[in-house]
Symmetry: C2
Subunit: 337 residues, 2 copies
């Protein structure tokens, strides 16, 4: 319903210089999504969930030295999925991509995981989990036209009452800057309003990109009752939404952190509830600088607001794009009556 326009792909790869690769294991019901930077990108992170799982995020603090990264990894597998960054590093090193120091090439690859260990997949992997190899494959697969829904880090994702998924969206701001989001949605809460098929993110939808249903009318009386994944089973950490917000604007590392903070309002607008103590909700920010334009003071209002709106849309699109698979514990959005 917005008057804003999406970019040509309505995807993270509308930011020139960013590539996205998925690796999915259907038997495992899990996977890895790698965001590869063709040139090093300014990066930051902001964590708001109470149960995060991360790697190389201290490096991203504005006061620390390294300012750019070569890739970001979103992975299933809970704490085991942090191995995916090792695979991405190995792939990038083989291609000569990384931070150079004394003749060595060190790919800088921050990573975050979501919990998908209790989702009907076969987790009997022996001594070492398969995420390192999935990470290598995801980096190898990095392209501009990538799949969404039940792929990559979204393969085994679930929300309160549905399959989750990998979603993406982009926005061209009036000043020519592009902002784009990629998110693996596995929240404890729900992206839907009550028991309806309507998305909380509906006010931000562009061109029926997630079904064009708008908001329900009248609003269901139980719209804000809590619908919580696995509540009866009491798995408090079985959740997490992890994302990347990216722009072609020229940002400092501290400004990228501000963009990551702003994008969290997209979680709040698209998921109810979000940012719980049992979600590891976090957002990485990437700034390629490819537009050559640093935002003026006043540009920050639009940049922050549409970091949030683009993220909200990407969340709804991830759920919208989910596909059924053998052994699923929950239905997909497209199957709802």
């Amino acid at each position: 319903m917005s008057i804003l326009k999406a970019g040509p792909r309505n995807a993270l790869t509308d930011i020139a210089g960013l590539l996205v690769g998925n690796a999915s294991d259907e038997r495992l019901k899990s996977g890895v999504t790698a965001i590869v930077c063709e040139k090093p990108c300014i990066a930051a992170v902001h964590v708001m969930g109470g149960a995060p799982g991360t790697r190389e995020t201290d490096l991203l603090s504005p006061e620390n030295t390294v300012e750019t990264v070569n890739a970001i990894v979103l992975s299933g597998g809970s704490a085991f999925g942090l191995d995916a960054a090792s695979g991405v590093q190995a792939n990038l090193r083989a291609r000569g991509i990384g931070f150079e120091l004394g003749g060595q090439v060190i790919p800088i690859v921050p990573a975050a995981i979501l919990f998908d260990l209790i989702n009907g997949g076969d987790k009997d992997w022996g001594t070492y989990p398969p995420y390192r190899e999935l990470g290598f494959e995801a980096a190898q697969n990095a392209v501009t036209e990538f799949a969404t829904g039940s792929v990559g880090a979204g393969t085994g994702a679930m929300v309160a009452t549905l399959k989750g998924g990998l979603g993406t969206a982009s926005t061209r701001l009036p000043n020519g800057t592009t902002i784009a989001a990629l998110v693996a949605v596995n929240a404890v809460g729900t992206p839907l309003i009550g028991d309806s098929r309507h998305f909380w993110a509906a006010p931000f939808e562009i061109d029926s990109e997630f079904g064009g249903l708008g908001l329900p009318h009248p609003m269901p009386g139980d719209a804000t009752d809590l619908r919580i994944k696995f509540r009866e089973r009491n798995h408090p950490s079985a959740n997490t939404t992890i994302a990347v917000i990216a722009t072609d604007a020229v940002l400092t590392k501290a400004q990228a952190k501000r963009l990551a903070i702003a994008a969290h309002d997209g979680f709040a607008r698209a998921i109810w509830p979000a940012h719980t103590p049992f979600d590891g909700d976090l957002i990485f920010a990437l700034a390629t600088g490819a537009s050559g334009k640093a935002p003026a003071m006043d540009d920050w209002i639009d940049l922050g607001a549409h970091a949030a709106s683009t993220m909200a849309r990407a969340i709804a699109r991830g759920i919208h794009d989910a596909k059924p698979a053998k052994g699923d514990l929950l239905p997909v959005w497209s199957s709802l009556g």
Copy 2:
């Protein structure tokens, strides 16, 4: 529309042991709100806006020593308003309320301010601003039945196209815990949907507490277009929403921080956009422990979610309760056609 119930006052003072006092100066178009703790309260803060103005917030970090506070101050006056805490301290010291050390009584009084210096009020106060004395008066006025709307820290508040105000709300959770919010709403963005009278917070409304209009149908096509206070005048820091979320549950200082984080989703749900680089948006958390009950793991879902929903309702109620005054630059909600 929610099935939840508000507490008997639908106010912060539904948390036994918390009192609220306002001091307002109509000529100044500004004022102070003091939240006084009858017994020392566990406290925390979480800052998400890019332009905060605060005092005694480092003390609130979970790793620092002092765990309880005697009052919280929300004030107008931008950086000058931080003097309000001095007045509250003087008032509490005279009453013998504070942290005792070697026979001295030191009231611990964290404070935050909002920017209301360009709102039609007379700011020609001579050498020293009047906030110290307003703070003293606010603490003196602390009671269980307090006014909302254009009073205290909300006296001179504005949002994008309307007068702002001081709002409050409470929720009785199914497990008997009470959670309550108090907020001075002065955001750069808007609590209303497009040009309508409808509040973004509508899905969370209880018993028509802010007009009972629900969401507009159909949703206006420009619902998410940015409406920004003073955009043409380019005063990037002329904003800020500051709040307290409180509960009678038994929380640690670190858990109080988690409650403050969760309550920020209420800003995101009630204001568009929120958390901009030009808002000093922040939330203090207070836990009295009066219920004697520490939340179990699973209780945290409800506690966090309704920290957000209660905050969203308090924001809408603050705007709803605003009253017109001489020299106002913007209309009040109740005057909208």
